[in-house]
């Protein structure tokens, strides 16, 4: 279909004798928001690395706007319109918050959002001149989201965007993403169920490198098997 942005078909990857992922499918449409959840070691970050072209699948294919992106250099993947937030906050600690966003904007040939708007969007307007290395953990996470937004992506991939955040910061991050919903597609890999519940979107559950369930979050949350292997019973 014409509105398909990212399509992973029957994707698998093997590291030596370990089959880390097998037979995974994911279709992300234009301006869609979806989450990938699962217990530790389920293969969420590995799957994200396949979706961003960082890892090459040993079976299946990952296509973005029809292009096979496996093995492409990172900068070319970014220029195709895929932005990524890493699991560990990856900012430029020697540069100020404002310069971090400027450097991010220079990565694309046609930045649209001014730096001031990006600062407001990630609630760092008052910290513009602060060195990024001096920010609190949660603020670094927001700054990195701001940097990803600066390249005007078609698809934003977030690897545990709320890791290490306080409950208030987690909620603020979810609200931020909901405000951005509809501007571009977002795929978030997350552990924090409160965050996923707040987003309330299409969700893929991974378990031991395979798809366990997929569907709207309220169906996922009610699913017996998902509750057994991941969410737990109340």
């Amino acid at each position: 279909m014409s509105d398909v942005l990212l399509q992973a078909e029957n994707v698998g990857i093997r590291f030596g004798g370990l089959q880390a992922l097998e037979g995974l499918n994911l279709t992300v449409r234009d301006r869609e928001l979806c989450c990938i959840i699962g217990p530790n070691g389920a293969g969420k970050s590995t799957f994200l690395n396949l979706l961003t072209g960082t890892l090459r699948p040993t079976s299946g294919s990952v296509r973005f706007l029809g292009h096979d992106i496996a093995g492409l250099p990172l900068h070319r993947i970014a220029r195709l319109g895929i932005a990524r937030k890493f699991q560990i906050p990856s900012v430029f600690p020697s540069l100020s918050v404002e310069d971090n966003l400027k450097v991010a904007r220079w990565g694309t040939s046609s930045p649209v959002r001014p730096v001031g708007e990006l600062l407001d969007l990630v609630a760092l307007g008052s910290r513009a001149a602060t060195l990024a290395g001096e920010l609190a953990h949660g603020q670094k996470q927001w700054l990195e989201i701001g940097m990803a937004l600066a390249i005007e992506p078609r698809l934003l991939l977030l690897d545990e965007p709320t890791a290490g955040m306080t409950p208030q910061e987690t909620l603020a991050t979810a609200q931020m993403l909901l405000r951005l919903k509809g501007e571009f597609s977002i795929v978030a890999v997350e552990h924090d169920i409160r965050f996923v519940r707040a987003l309330n979107c299409e969700t893929l559950v991974l378990h031991q490198g395979r798809r366990l369930r997929s569907g709207p979050f309220h169906d996922i949350e009610a699913d017996e098997m998902v509750r057994d292997v991941y969410l737990g019973r109340r």
């Binding site: 990172l74 900068h75 971090n100």
Partner: protein, 328 residues
């Protein structure tokens, strides 16, 4: 303009003023000593532009200085080549840049960074020095090439002749000033900010759309080209070129000049090179064997007392006085 840039420009202006006044108070010999030290300063600034901006240490930077020197010598010693000095300078710049482009391409696009890059460039320096010794039919072997004429060329109505001390001093000082200013402008602008980002986190910079290997390669090539220019100027002033000019000792010395002057400051390495050259000549005139020992001591003291180099003295004094004023 931020305070750091204002301080840099102030120090640059003071240095430029001293460079203008110096010919009025120095004799011919002193002028040539400072002129040669300025050339080494240009060489140090070239290394600093790469090392200071990218955090990647090139341990064979003298290879580019030597390549520039040999190309300049071969071109100017060949009477058949018209505009010898001018073509020699351009050839030296292009030759050093070409070698850096070839080596840098495989290293940067091959993902070689950090200590691996340093080791490979160290080997490159050793190979260049050995090539200069072994390829004696071209390079003159161990003895090198002598009788290299001073820079002289005609450009239309303009006649450039640097056989005298004062014109050669003015020419070298002007080139150093212009190159340092251009490198500083590049460093504080968009190019410098992206290089700082790559130094901080190359994967993050690439994930934002920056072609990090290409940026590093261009910076390396530019740095090598300036080192080649410095080599070309030096051999014309000294009148000879020898394998030592691309050797490990000079590669080590230039690292010391940058570290003593202040890595990442561009102006500091120039001052570091001048200070150490002057000290070397003064101390060696008393006792030649004393210099290596003193150089080692100076380096250790600088690393402990002024880890950001001698250029940080100004900022330290400024913050000291500011602190005292606030205490009163």
């Amino acid at each position: 303009m931020i305070a750091r840039d204002r301080n840099w420009l102030l120090i640059f202006a003071v240095c430029a003023a001293l460079a203008v006044v110096y010919p009025f108070i120095a004799d011919g010999y002193q002028l040539t000593v400072i002129r040669d030290a300025l050339i080494f300063g240009l060489f140090a600034a070239s290394l600093d532009f790469f090392w200071g901006r990218t955090g990647i240490l090139c341990f064979g930077h003298a290879a580019f200085f030597g390549i520039g020197g040999y190309i300049m010598a071969l071109v100017t010693l060949n009477d058949a080549i018209p505009l010898g000095s001018l073509l020699g300078i351009l050839g030296a710049i292009a030759g050093a840049a070409f070698v850096a482009a070839i080596i840098g391409y495989f290293l940067f696009f091959g993902g070689i960074r950090g200590s691996y890059f340093t080791i490979v460039t160290l080997a490159m320096g050793v190979i260049c020095q050995q090539a200069a010794v072994s390829w004696s039919s071209v390079t003159g072997g161990d003895s090198g090439l002598i009788g290299i004429p001073p820079i002289a060329f005609d450009l239309g109505e303009i006649h450039v002749d640097l056989s005298q001390d004062l014109p050669s001093y003015i020419f070298v000082a002007s080139i150093v000033a212009v190159v340092v200013l251009v490198l500083w402008s590049l460093s504080r602008g968009r190019w410098g900010a992206v290089l700082t980002a790559i130094q901080d986190n190359e994967v993050r910079a690439a994930a934002l759309g920056h072609n990090a290997p290409l940026r590093l390669l261009v910076t390396f090539v530019l740095s090598a080209a300036i080192a080649g220019l410095a080599g070309a100027l030096y051999v014309c002033m000294a009148g000879l070129v020898a394998p030592d000019l691309s050797g490990l000792l000079l590669s080590t010395e230039v690292i010391v000049w940058v570290a003593v002057g202040g890595r990442g400051t561009l102006l500091g390495p120039v001052l570091g090179a001048i200070a150490i050259q002057r000290a070397q000549q003064t101390i060696s005139s008393f006792n030649p064997s004393l210099w290596p020992l003193l150089l080692g001591c100076v380096f250790v003291v600088i690393v402990f007392v002024l880890p950001d180099g001698i250029l940080s003295i100004y900022a330290r004094l400024k913050s000291l006085f500011k602190g005292r004023r606030q205490a009163q």
